[in-house]
């Protein structure tokens, strides 16, 4: 059995693989079957629409040309394209999309990642990521303005000194005030990340007003 063809093919090849697949892949699928997968239209929210409209006001000509009106349907379309650009450019190899419950991560990034946040089409395939050259992005939405993102994609060190992130001039029609379809879509996608949370927008150095006003000696 241990050295012949049927043993190796059926027990080692098929059997052990299926055992691992059932216990490691099917179990979580069954555990989370009560969380239906949301469509892109369903994940468009007011926070995101505000940013999308902001884009249409800041870059009116470009926005009109590539997305027309800042409606919810167009916003969903921008998210779809944005996610495609995000995967195609390999953003997810230097930026993760989950906050761990350890290593002071919730103090730096915000609330710890939960399963329901990932049950949507834009997480197919899921973009947890395994490396952080740059910051985690899962709570990035709303932290910085659209202008900041445009300039940052055009030439990262301009707004983030010493950043090793590459430039992405192909997201623009020549200059940072003219993002093209990919540029607008990617900014929309990044602004969407975390926009579904109570804590939105989360700032790294955010302190409640009471804390700031209180006398540290008391």
């Amino acid at each position: 059995m241990f050295e012949n063809k049927s043993g190796i093919l059926l027990i080692g090849g098929l059997g052990f693989f299926l055992f691992a697949f059932l216990s490691n892949a099917i179990v979580p699928i069954l555990m989370y079957r009560h969380l239906p997968e949301k469509t892109v239209e369903e994940v468009v929210n007011q926070n995101l629409l505000y940013q999308f409209e902001d884009l249409s006001l800041r870059y009116p000509e470009q926005f009109k040309k590539y997305f027309g009106e800042p409606t919810a349907e167009n916003c969903a379309e921008a998210l779809r394209i944005g996610r495609k650009v995000y995967t195609g450019e390999g953003c997810w190899h230097c930026h993760s999309q989950f906050v761990r419950p350890v290593s002071n991560e919730s103090r730096r990034w915000g609330p710890v990642a939960e399963t329901w946040e990932y049950q949507n089409v834009l997480q197919r395939p899921v973009l947890f990521g395994t490396r952080r050259v740059g910051p985690d992005l899962s709570r990035e939405g709303g932290r910085r303005g659209n202008d900041w993102h445009a300039v940052h994609f055009f030439d990262p060190p301009l707004v983030s000194a010493g950043s090793p992130m590459p430039r992405y001039p192909w997201f623009f029609d020549g200059s940072p005030d003219k993002p093209n379809q990919r540029g607008l879509a990617l900014i929309t996608y990044v602004q969407w990340l975390g926009s579904w949370l109570e804590s939105y927008p989360l700032y790294e150095d955010y302190k409640p007003v009471d804390d700031m006003m209180s006398n540290p000696l008391e």
Partner: protein, 468 residues
Amino acid sequence: MNSDTISTELPPQPTYDNLVEERLVLWYFLAAIGYLFVSMLGGLIMALQLVHWNPHDGIEYLSPGRWRMIHTNAIAYGFLANTFLGALHWSIPRLTLQPVLNRALSYFIFAAWQVVVLGTAIGIMFGQAQGVEWGETPVWIDPLAQVGLLLVAINFMAPIARTKGPLYVTLWYFMAAFVWTFLTYAMGNFMPQYYVAGTSAGAITGLFIHDLVGLFVTPIGWGLMYYFVPILLKKPIWSHGLSLVGFWGLAFFYPLNGIHHFLYTPIPMFLQYGAIVSTIAVELVVTTVIINFFGTIWGSGRALITNIPLRWFYTGMVFYFLTCTQCAMQVTLTFQKVIHFSDWVVGHAHLVMFGVFGMWLLGTMTYLFPRLYKHDWYSRELCEWHFWLSAVGIFVMAADLILLGLFQGFYWVSLQPWDASITVSQPFWIIRVGAGLAIIAGQICFVVNIYKTWRLSEEAKVNALFPH
């Protein structure tokens, strides 16, 4: 029974010339070396970007983000898979004394696989990557690759199926790898893309990342070691029992490891614990295999000085033991708190892919090229340079990145501003560029040596036809 049917003579034995399509082995190896250079170019672009020296900054088709993915895919599907296929064409007919199923099919698979790998590289270059780590192959190529893997399995299973009785350990690994690779590719490339989103998809992509290394690369790699090491040492493997423990331990525990790539994600904690325990179990299994191979070379250690292919193999095994020991530590939640997301993991990945499997395959090529060209190496010195530049280069790179990972991890935990973790990385990243250049220089020595050896073999052929 009359005396005519009883013969002391053996039936005519097939010769290897009829069994092995040597030209195809050679083609696979040359294609593999081509992709090795593509991959190294990708690594170099990314490494230069990180230290702000990228000369092609701002060019879409040379974007470091895209070439980082070409880097990993060209290694997995271009270098490793092509070398494996070449080595399988060399070893399976020898082990079974049977040719592969069909010669035409073999050539078709060769052509088809190059289309798959080239398509992957070009697709990624044009920004069509799929969001699966190690499976960035654009979605339109996935079905082609899946059919290709099926054909590979059929072509090589035919000679194995024709043999009778218990099989040699190499064939256990190969057979299991044919099944596993097919299933792993299907699971990782289709399920998270079309059927499952979110956390459960994370579990599946974790399995995919790990199974690709553990159930495709590792079994074929060890299968080749079990084949070549006894041949080079001219003695059998030390312990058959340990071979059994190694194979069946790997078969059971390795597929259970995948989720350890996503510890502290929302994936259920009990599954994470399961993956951690299985990973540590794999380390114990690995130790038995290492003991078996060092038992085999015991008493013949001098061969490591004189025999360059053997030195490649055993250096790879030492690195294998190091990476697996590292793995058993880094998989624990204590280590994960610090080293996850850092360059520690990148160092680990390089040590596995180049330090272990790259070493084994370059050793295999060093052994086989003279046999394919029917001519000795042009220069043993270049072979030595190839080995030492590669070995020192990968050791420095891995040590540098693993140490850097600790710095990055502790900077993050201590809530330093993010930029601090970039600033501290710069000197380490510069050393990494140097180590990478050493590796590239080693492979250039290799290519020069192959070219010169080919020229000599051509001359020898002409001289044989027209003696002076």
